[in-house]
């Protein structure tokens, strides 16, 4: 069913999710509901519950985690510099753009001719890393963030689509990513992970949220990702987007998922599931009863205590990537 009333749809979604969260029980501590948590809670609830406060919390910046944040920030900085100079932005050179942004963080007083540099968590981490003389980490950031930027621009094309606004990046060429709390006192924050918005937000909807995935192998199903970002975006913005554009660096795909009631409902389900599992975890801790075994069992810290996971592994151990693992040759002869 299509969304005829984007504002009303978002409003109804807010009530629905707030009701679901209220009915989920009381989680211990703050709950940050991003795509990562939603994917983990949906993939195997016991495994997600078992992570505990340490696993649920933001682990701190590292090059792999900072790839998107630094790539977006550098691209926003590149575009802002061109805007300030009154010219259209040239095709960014990924590594140069990353290094230029890093330099501007370090020397804001020398950037009078450039755009103002806004404080950000990831920017502060870059500065601390620089001051610590950790050149290996800075080089790793340049590598992964440059790869993010290159993939984003390659798949979306250059010049970037008209009316594209980068989200979740510091700087004047970007705006914060949409986030939402059921109420001011709620420990729950739902965060949209969209990288960009195409089009302006009006009551008529019509805008598109773009999500870029560097690789698709570990990101779950495309429809699930689109559903989560559609719902999180509608909650945060207060208007349902018209569609979600999901791009992938490794496959070069650009897939548009139209936002309809079913997609929003699936996204709402994913969001509420995170809070539900956190509440269950507060009461029960790890309980493998509802485990959903998958290839993730191979790397799961809790498989030894998980009968469904062990049962799955007894079969899976004989297979790898669609091929049987060979027995010793003597036994096969």
């Amino acid at each position: 069913m299509t969304v005829d009333d984007p504002v009303g749809a978002a409003d109804r979604l807010r009530h629905r999710v707030a009701g679901g969260i209220a009915g989920a029980g009381v989680p211990a501590g703050d709950v940050y509901v991003g795509w990562g948590a939603a994917l983990e809670a949906a993939t195997c609830p016991p495994r997600y519950r078992a992570q505990g406060e340490h696993g649920w919390a933001f682990p701190g910046w590292s090059p792999p985690l900072a790839a998107g944040a630094c790539g977006r920030a550098a691209l926003a900085h590149h575009i802002a510099r061109a805007d300030l100079a009154g010219r259209p932005p040239a095709l960014p050179m990924p590594l140069d753009a990353i290094r230029g942004w890093m330099r501007s963080l370090r020397t804001p007083h020398e950037s009078a001719a450039g755009p103002p540099v806004e404080r950000s968590s990831v920017g502060d981490w870059i500065c601390e890393t620089w001051e610590a003389g950790d050149s290996a980490t800075l080089a790793a950031v340049a590598a992964v963030a440059g790869r993010w930027l290159a993939g984003f621009v390659r798949v979306l094309g250059w010049p970037l689509p008209a009316q594209l606004t980068l989200l979740n990046a510091p700087g004047p060429a970007a705006v914060p990513a949409p986030s939402w709390r059921p109420d001011r006192a709620s420990p729950v924050t739902v965060a949209c992970g969209a990288d960009a918005r195409l089009g302006r937000v009006t009551g008529a909807g019509g805008f598109v949220l773009a999500v870029h995935r560097v690789t698709t192998g570990d990101d779950g199903a495309l429809r699930d990702r689109a559903a989560f970002e559609a719902a999180a975006g509608a909650l945060g913005i207060g208007v349902a987007p018209a569609s979600i554009l999901v791009t992938a660096g490794d496959t070069g795909e650009r897939v548009t998922a139209p936002v309809d009631q079913q997609l929003l409902a699936l996204g709402a389900e994913r969001i509420v599931a995170v809070v539900t599992q956190r509440a269950v975890a507060a009461q029960q801790g790890f309980d493998p009863t509802d485990a959903t075994p998958s290839p993730a069992c191979r790397h799961c810290d809790h498989v030894a205590d998980c009968p469904p996971g062990q049962a799955w592994m007894r079969v899976a151990e004989r297979w790898r990537g669609g091929l049987p693992v060979a027995p010793p040759v003597r036994a096969a002869l």
């Binding site: 990924p94 290996a136 390659r154 192998g217 091929l323 040759v329």
Partner: protein
């Protein structure tokens, strides 16, 4: 004259026409569907191929299906050299040492090498000296100081889904230069930590095919840079793409028969010398007997 990376980038470069890409994809999709009928894969549980597995299945299925043997000193040295090459690409001003390359790997979230060296204790010195020697040989390969207009990016991921997703072929190119939207033709760089042998070319061919399928443009060159000082330049031609597609087709067929229960064939060859399953493989042992263990 032996070509090097600098010669390639100086041009001129003439990538093949993209006209044949759609036909190649159609051929591979058909082959994947035919293999899937036998192999029983699905989009949810696909056959996952990599460059190593494609080569392995064609070379010796028995070895390709063997359990993961973990890391060896030779593999660790190769990873250090590989990291040094990538670091030279993204950070050209630095003198690349073994310690810096290991720190780069660790910063990227992979502590396997650092842990292995730590476990070796003082014995790590020999390994590090070997890695340092190979890194020195790489220095002349021209990885540092590449014009930013080439968009140098390391570990660029590429994935191709075939037969409706029942077969996936995935990998990460060591270094990718050019390609859309740079306006320059694509150049694939593969870094190898050991010694040159002709079989290394196949990785570049497969990546050229995968990049063509992903980007809709055929890369102009695949350059294999080896830590023995070899730089092998391959101008990509339609025949090479066709050859890579035929290898992929054959690998899917072998994989299908294995998944259906056919015992893995054992093909002896030079690869037996370093094969981890050789002690259990009578064919491999017979190919080059001579050690005490082989005679037992």
């Amino acid at each position: 004259m032996v070509e090097a990376l600098g010669d390639v980038l100086a041009g001129p470069l003439h990538p093949p026409s993209p006209d044949g890409i759609a036909a190649l994809r159609a051929e591979l999709d058909d082959a994947a569907r035919a293999s899937t009928v036998v192999g029983g894969w699905s989009a949810d549980e696909p056959l996952r191929l990599s460059k190593h597995l494609v080569t392995g299945l064609l070379r010796c299925p028995r070895r390709a299906l063997g359990e993961d043997q973990g890391t060896s000193d030779e593999i660790i040295v190769g990873w250090v050299v590989d990291a040094a090459a990538k670091l030279a690409t993204v950070s050209p001003r630095r003198t690349i040492t073994v310690d810096v390359a290991v720190a780069f790997l660790t910063a990227l979230g992979d502590s396997t090498v650092a842990d292995h060296l730590a476990d070796l204790g003082s014995a790590a010195a020999r390994l590090k000296a070997e890695a340092a020697m190979r890194i020195d040989r790489l220095a002349a390969a021209g990885l540092a100081g590449i014009d930013p207009g080439w968009w140098p990016r390391v570990e660029d991921p590429v994935r191709v889904a075939l037969g409706g997703g029942a077969v996936t072929v995935a990998g990460r190119m060591d270094v990718l230069l050019g390609g859309p939207p740079t306006g320059r033709p694509g150049v694939i760089l593969e870094v190898k930590g050991g010694r040159w042998y002709d079989g290394m070319r196949a990785d570049g061919h497969l990546y050229a095919l995968m990049v063509a399928l992903r980007d809709g443009e055929v890369p102009a060159s695949a350059v294999t840079i080896v830590s023995d000082g070899t730089s092998h330049v391959e101008r990509i031609r339609p025949a090479l793409l066709q050859h890579a597609a035929e290898r992929l087709d054959e690998a899917m067929g072998i994989a299908a028969r294995l998944a259906a229960g056919e015992p893995p064939a054992m093909h002896p060859g030079a690869h037996c010398q370093h094969c981890p399953v050789r002690p259990d493989c009578p064919v491999g042992r017979a190919w080059r007997p001579g050690t005490a263990e082989d005679a037992s």
